[in-house]
């Protein structure tokens, strides 16, 4: 009997939870705010679903309901992607070590 592909995805999911668990524990507490903003940015990879929805079908009619929802999701996710990564970058630029002089 063949294994359902769902089981493979579930395995990836469970393993990724474990990876996430160990990686996040190693994040230094002083960077917890950037951690939140960057996880927020990467979770916007949900945009792939929005792209599929928006590009669906061969018809030129872009006013299908499912496409419209796709387009809206693209805007939301794009705000998040740009906003999330840029604000993270902005924060991380501020973390500096003590200057050696004096």
């Amino acid at each position: 009997m063949e294994i359902d592909p769902f089981i493979f995805r579930l395995s990836i999911f469970v393993l990724a939870i474990f990876v996430g668990y160990y990686v996040v524990w190693s994040v230094t507490p002083s960077l917890h705010t950037p951690l939140m903003s960057v996880t927020n940015a990467i979770s916007s990879v949900i945009i792939v679903g929005a792209i599929i929805a928006a590009l669906a079908g061969t018809s030129e009619n872009i006013f299908e309901t499912s496409k419209i929802f796709g387009f809206f999701a693209i805007i939301l996710a794009a705000i998040n992607i740009f906003g999330g990564f840029l604000v993270t970058q902005r924060m991380l630029q501020m973390y500096k070590k003590k200057k050696t002089k004096k």
């Binding site: 996430g20 668990y21 960077l31 945009i47 928006a54 805007i75 939301l76 996710a77 500096k96």
Partner: protein, 467 residues
């Protein structure tokens, strides 16, 4: 355009890049590189998706227009937002992820063919369950984050809103979602799907309103986690590895942060979520003490004298510093003190501020080097050999009652041992108790000097008095 197998490999690659993005945050030096990995992963995922759909009709123009529009808004926000507003920004961003998840789930429900999930009203059973769960969690994330945003922004009062039967209603709504999903799968009738989303919106609101302002670090972390699980749910629906990996990463990240925050308050997750903490136990207990005990009242001159002649000072910032935007003035004060040969350290309690790491970002913004900033466990032993503790905008996290009085609501919470310093300076606007509604006995100690003023104004005055 590209085969499903090839795109799956690319999705895996972007998932790995996202792992590296989080890995980079283990130290500030590697963090910027980590962020670039994250951006690269995102670019790969988006490009591969567009190529694999391979439809270059006019739709793609609209897609780009919407993408650029969203990107412009996002960039604008990212550059304009003041660092003190980070908590509400993150809450706001979570709501967008939640809503995007709902929209994608709706698209997939309306046009399952595009996602390879069957045909309308004949969607594969597993996909239907996955998309309903994704939509439900997404909807909860959306409205929950909106409420959190409003509370953090001060548009809505931070006071917990409670009413009788609250938890029972939440439970009933939660069960009804499961029942509705069950019937949705059985009948494929779309009104069940809409009801699931609607009720989830409602749960999101009801879940967050009973939680008070200072418990927001837990709430934000929890919503962070939810947005991850929502993404993972959609990832299963779309059979997309990048989404599944990301969802799992974000989900566990938020869960860990919630755990750390709860531990910082010595409260169980359930206790925070059930809410109502700090609602009304403030008035009775405090009124008694206020007039009886004498308080030593100081001014900027005294504080400046004390710190200038100290050999070491530990600064304990809290939410009050963020509210008063006092971090820059504080930095100025520290520079002056350093010129006088005073050793300075900063002590950060895990739940100081309104989100994990909030104080660290503000200090970094004010150009405080991160190697002068210490976490509770690393610095708590140093208070005993320190001359002055300068508490600015923190309260409950310094209250020694947490160590001594088992009846206190904050008993057992790890606190900063500021009372072990030779003297303690407390910048505070009044003697009012902190969020937990507990009087801080430190105020009445002999070695405590209260500085009643706005944090920023007091710090500026001290700066003037140091020269």
């Amino acid at each position: 355009m590209i085969s499903a197998n090839l795109s799956a490999v690319f999705y895996l690659a972007s998932g790995i890049l996202f792992i590296l993005a989080l890995r980079g945050l283990s130290s500030p030096e590697t963090s910027r590189q980590g962020n670039l990995f994250g951006i690269l992963g995102m670019i790969i995922a988006i490009t591969v998706t567009i190529l694999s759909v391979g439809n270059f009709s006019s739709s793609i123009i609209y897609l780009l227009v919407f993408f650029v529009a969203g990107g412009a808004i996002g960039s604008f926000i990212a550059f304009k937002i003041p660092m003190t507003a980070m908590p509400e920004l993150v809450a706001g961003f979570h709501s967008l992820v939640g809503l995007a998840a709902v929209f994608v789930a709706i698209s997939a429900f309306l046009n399952p063919g595009a996602f390879n999930l069957g045909s309308p009203s004949n969607i594969k059973l597993a996909s239907l369950v996955e998309m309903s769960i994704g939509a439900a969690i997404g909807a909860i994330t959306f409205t929950g984050s909106i409420i959190a945003f409003l509370k953090l922004r001060g548009i809505m009062s931070g006071a917990p809103i409670t009413f009788t039967g609250q938890h029972f209603i939440n439970l009933a709504l939660g069960i009804s979602i499961i029942v509705l999903i069950f019937y949705l799968c059985k009948t494929q009738v779309d009104s069940f799907f809409w009801s699931v989303i609607f009720i989830s919106f409602l749960i999101g609101i009801l879940l967050i309103i009973p939680i008070g302002g200072a418990d927001m670090p837990v709430v934000i972390s929890m919503l962070n986690s939810y947005s991850g699980w929502a993404a993972a749910g959609i990832g299963f629906t779309l059979e997309n590895t990048a989404l599944i990996i990301t969802g799992a990463l974000v989900g566990s990240s938020g869960a860990i942060l919630s755990y750390i925050m709860c531990k910082g308050m010595n409260r169980s997750f359930a206790n925070v979520i059930l809410g109502g903490f700090g609602a009304d136990n403030s008035s009775n207990e405090v009124g008694k003490n206020k007039d009886q005990k004498p308080v030593k009242n100081g001014n900027a001159e005294d504080a400046a004298f004390l710190m200038k002649n100290a050999s070491s000072v530990i600064i304990v910032p809290g939410y009050g510093m963020a509210v008063a935007q006092a971090q820059h003035a504080l930095r100025e004060m520290v520079d002056k003190l350093k010129k006088n040969g005073v050793t300075i350290k900063y002590a950060i309690h895990p739940v100081a501020g309104r989100m994990p790491g909030h104080m660290n970002v503000l200090l970094a913004e004010a150009n405080v080097p991160y190697d002068e900033v210490f976490e509770l466990d690393d610095i708590n032993n140093d208070f005993a050999n320190t001359d002055v503790a300068f508490v600015i905008g923190a309260n409950d996290v310094t209250n020694p009652i947490a160590k001594t009085d088992p009846k206190s609501p904050i008993f057992g919470m790890p606190v900063l041992d500021v009372e072990k310093c030779k003297s303690v300076l407390f910048v505070k606007r009044s003697l009012s108790p902190g969020y937990a509604g507990v009087d801080n006995e430190l105020f009445y100690r002999d070695n405590t000097l209260m500085l009643f003023a706005d944090a920023k104004k007091m710090t500026e005055d001290i700066v003037k008095n140091i020269e």
